[in-house]
Symmetry: D2
Subunit: 287 residues, 4 copies
C-alpha cells in the first residue's frame, strides 16, 4: 500500500435522485480531488435510497480537509445526505472488550501488528485478568473492570470513564457481558460483536451445545453491530466451517474459534476502512 | 469406477464392546470377502455406540449373498447389531416428488444421467403438471397427483398406490406439500427433503424473504430425512453461498437454488451409496 | 428483477485524470439518466488507469440511446476513453461450441432457461453429433461441423459462415479443438473458454490425470478469454473443490465437472452483464 | 477431549489380501484393546495396497505397549506390513524452522497454546533473530543459526546438533533456506513445508508476484513433506482464498498469509495425530 496521507474517504447515503453522482464528482474535481476508487448502489432504479463510498486523493489533504468538509456540508444539505468523511491517515481509536476466551483478541492484535487492521488500539478492557500479559506485552494499556450482577452499573461507569479519552470503535471480542442500553446509545453503530453462531440460528446462549444437539454439518459465526436487541443488530459478516459427526460440543467450540476470529477480523477491517454503511437493520458493505 | 458386481456394503450400528471389528473382519474373511474400504466410529472410548460401514469384494457375490446375510444375522444377534446389507450392483429404486420449482429435480436427473447418482429412477410424482415434459423426455414415468386441502388424504392414497411397486427412497425435490404421519411412517429414514435455508435458521415458510429481512451475508440449504416434526429431521448435508446487500429476496431465491441443488444431490448420493446411518436425530455420514 | 427496458450500461477505461467521474456523472444527469449502480477502480492513486462500470436508468432509453452514444463519443474522445455501451434489454447473441462432454453446455442451457443467463442463444456448434437431441429439444439450432486435421480450415470456414448472422459472444463449453489465430482475431475478448484445471497449474492436456499423478488435494477450473497463447488468456473466474486420496483420475474428472460448470456459468453471466473489462492480460470484474 | 492415556494409534500399510482387517481386529481384541475409530482404504478391489489407521483404547496401555508392539511385529511380518505405533499421550517432539516472516510460526504457537496442536515444541530455529522475543516469551528455546552461501554446511551441522536431542518432526514455517539432501535424509517424511502457492502452480520463487502477473482469481497455499525435489514432495493439504483485480502483489502476499497459516496448521495437526500415511509421492490422509 502506498502512503495514504492524501487519501480521503466519503460515505454517503441519501434519497436517490438525478445527478447525485455528478454533483459529488463535480464537487471533488472542483476541489482538486481525484477519485481513486468508488462504489455506489441504489436500492431501486428510481426513488430508492442512494449509497456511495468514495476514496479520493487530494494533495495537502490535511490542510484542505476542513474547507472541504464545510463545503461538502452545503452539498449534503441540498441533497439530504447523511455523510461521513474520514481521512485514511487518521487511524480509528479502538477499544477491545474481552472476557476469558482470548482467541478473537489475539487475532485482532496479531492482524493489527501485521498491518492488516489500520487502527490505533488504545486499550483492552476485560472483566477478567487473563488477557493482561498478552496485552501489556504489546505495550497496550489493559484495564481489568470486574463485573457482577450487583456492580454492573458501576462497572459500566468505570468503562465509560476509560473510554472518555475518545474512542471511535469498540470491539466485543468474546466479551460475555450484556451492555446496558444507556451504554450502547453512546456508541451507535460503533460497537462490533462476534456471535458464535450463524445467526439467526442458535440465537442466544450456548450455540455450540445447541448446534451439537441439532446435528448440524456446518458451524458459523456472525459479526454484527450491537443494538439493544440482543443478537439482532445489523450483520456485517458471516462465515461457516464444515464439521461432522465426530465433533462433540467441545470440538465444535474449537472449530468455531477459527471462524469467529476470521469473521470478526474481516468485519473490523471493513469498519476501520469505512466500508460499511448501516441501513436500517442491515449493512451495505462495499468490500 | 470398476465393475461392481461383486461389491457389497454393510452398515452396522450397535452398543460398543470389545472385539466387534475382529468379529466382523473374521466373518468376512471366513466367507472369502476382501474389505476394500471401511470406516468406523464409536461415540465414546468405551461403552458408547459403535458405527461401521464396510465395502467388500466377494467373488460370485450374487450367489453367495443369501447365505452371507443369514450367517451375518447370527453374528448380529450376538452383538445386538442393527445392520443393513446392500449389494452395490442393486441400484436403489427412487421416486422423486416435486412441485413447480424444477431445479432440484433437474439436477438429480442430470447427475443421474451423468452417472453420479447410482439409482433406478422409477417415477416422478408431482402435484403440478409442469415437470411432465422434462421427465417423460427421459423415459421416466410421470404421475400428476393434484393435492388440495380437501383431497389430501386421497392424494396420498394415490401416491401410496404408485409407490407400491417397491420404492427404496423418496426424494422431496422442492415438494411443497406436507406429508401425513401415516405416510411418513411407511418410509422411515427413507424420505429425503431439501429445505431452502441453513437450518435451524429460518425454519418454516418463506426462508428467503426472512433471510432478506434479516440481512444475512450467507444463504444456505439443508438436506435432511423427513420426520413428523417439520424441518426437524436428521440433517444429512448443508452448505451456504455468499450474498450481499444488492440481493433482493428474489435474487436470494435464485442464488439459493444453486446451493439447494448441490446439497440435495450430495445427500442423495450418500444415501444411495449407503454412507449415511441415522443415530437418534443425527446422522453419521461416512462420506 | 424489475423490467429493464430503460436500463443502460457503460463500461469505460482510460488514463486516469482529475474530474472523470464528475464529467461522466454530469453527462448522464444532463441527459436525464439516473445512475443505479456504479463501480470504479484506478490502478494508481494518480496517473494510473481508470476503469468504471455504470448502470443507469433513462426513460425512453431506446429512442434516446443513439443521441446518447453520439454525445458520449465526444466526451470519450476528450478523455481518451475506450468505452462500450450496452442496453440491458438487448440480450447478447451467443453461440456455444461443444464437443462430446455435455455438462457445461447443459449447465449453460439450464441457467439460461432459469433466467440466470441473460442471453439470446442463437446456436450450438459441435464437432460431434452428441448434443443434438438436447439442443434441439429446446428449440435451439444445432450445427454439426466435424473437424479433422485435414478439414480444419474448411470447418472453421463453415463455422464462420454460421456465425455470420451476428454473434456477440462464443462460449467454448468443453470444445476440444484449437481455434486458429485468424478465427480468434474476429472475436477479440469475445470467446470464453473453460479450462479444466486451476490455471496455471496443469496447463495443457490431461489436467485430471496429471492432478492425480501429483496427488493434489483440490481440483479447479478456470474460465478465461481465448487468445492465441493456449490457456494463457485473461482469467475471468476460477474455483476449486476438495478431493482426497480415494479419487482416481476418473473420479477427479467427475468432481471437476461440477466446478467447471459453475465457473463457466459465472464467467458467462458476468460477461453477459457487461461486468468484465479486459486490461492487458488480466480482467477487471465488477461482480 | 477425554484423557487419552490409554489411547493408542496404529498406522498400517501393506499389500492388500484377504483377512487383514480380521487379523488386526483379532489381534487387538485378543490384547483387550477396543477400537474407537478406524479408517481403511485399499487402492484396488483386489491386489492393490492396503492402508489403515486405528485408534484403540487399552487399559494400562503404558505397561502393555511394549508387548503389544512386539507381538504386532510378528503379525506385521506375516502380512508384509509397514507400520507405526504411536500412543496418543506421547506428544511428538517438534522443531520449527522460520526465517523473517513470522505468521506461520505465530499460528503454530498459538494453536499449540490453544490445545489444537498436540505437540511438545522443543525449539525454534531461525537464520534471523526476529522471532526470538515471541518464542522466548512462551518459554521455548530459540536458536539463531545464521546461514550464508559460504556457511551453509556448518549451519546445517549446527542445526543437526540442536536437533540431536531427539526431534520427531520439523516444520518449515516459512523457512527460506533450502536444506541439503544429507539433512533431509535424516528426517524422511518428517519435515513439513508450507509453500505459498497452490502447487503445482507457481512452483519455485516469488509465487505471489507471478500470481499477480497472471491475474489469477484465487491464491493458494500447499503443505507438503519435503523431499530432494524442491516443491515436489507429497502434498498433505491445500487451500485457496479469493482475490480480485484490486489486489497488487503485496496485497496477495497478505491475503496469502491467512491461507498459509491455516493450511500449515491443519497439515501439522494431522501429522501430529498420525493421520497421514505417505504412499509414493502422495499422501493418504485419514482426516
Amino acid at each position: 500500500m502506498a502512503a495514504r496521507d492524501n487519501r480521503g474517504r466519503l460515505l454517503i447515503s441519501c434519497p436517490d435522485r438525478l445527478g447525485i453522482v455528478a454533483a459529488i464528482g463535480q464537487f471533488l474535481s472542483a476541489h482538486g480531488a481525484n477519485i481513486a476508487e468508488s462504489a455506489q448502489y441504489s436500492t431501486e432504479p428510481q426513488g430508492g435510497d442512494f449509497f456511495m463510498r468514495i476514496e479520493f486523493e487530494l494533495d495537502d489533504l490535511a490542510q484542505k480537509e476542513n474547507t472541504l468538509c464545510e463545503d461538502f456540508g452545503q452539498l449534503a444539505k441540498e441533497y439530504g445526505m447523511r455523510w461521513r468523511y474520514a481521512p485514511a491517515r487518521a487511524k480509528k481509536r479502538m477499544a477491545i472488550f474481552v472476557s476469558r476466551e482470548l482467541h478473537c483478541l489475539q487475532e485482532l492484535l496479531w492482524d493489527w501488528q501485521d498491518g492488516l487492521l489500520d487502527a490505533d488500539v488504545k486499550m483492552v478492557v476485560s472483566n477478567h485478568p487473563d488477557a493482561r500479559p498478552l496485552v501489556e506485552s504489546l505495550g497496550i494499556p489493559f484495564h481489568h473492570v470486574p463485573v457482577t450482577a450487583d456492580t454492573k452499573a458501576q462497572a459500566e461507569q468505570r468503562q465509560l470513564e476509560l473510554l472518555a479519552e475518545g474512542i471511535d470503535v469498540i470491539v466485543l471480542a468474546r466479551y460475555m457481558q450484556i451492555l446496558s442500553p444507556s451504554f450502547l446509545e453512546r456508541f451507535p453503530q460503533r460497537i462490533i460483536n462476534i456471535h458464535h453462531s450463524f445467526l439467526p440460528a442458535f440465537i442466544g446462549r450456548n450455540p455450540y451445545q445447541r448446534a451439537y444437539d441439532r446435528g448440524v454439518k456446518l458451524i458459523g459465526a456472525t459479526a454484527h453491530y450491537v443494538t439493544e436487541e440482543l443478537d439482532e443488530g445489523p450483520i456485517i459478516e458471516q462465515d461457516v466451517t464444515r464439521v461432522d459427526h465426530r465433533f462433540d460440543a467441545s470440538d465444535l467450540r474449537i472449530a468455531g474459534r477459527q471462524v469467529e476470529r476470521a469473521v470478526l477480523s474481516r468485519a473490523v477491517k471493513w469498519h476501520l476502512e469505512d466500508k460499511v454503511i448501516v441501513h436500517g437493520n442491515k449493512t451495505i458493505v462495499f468490500a
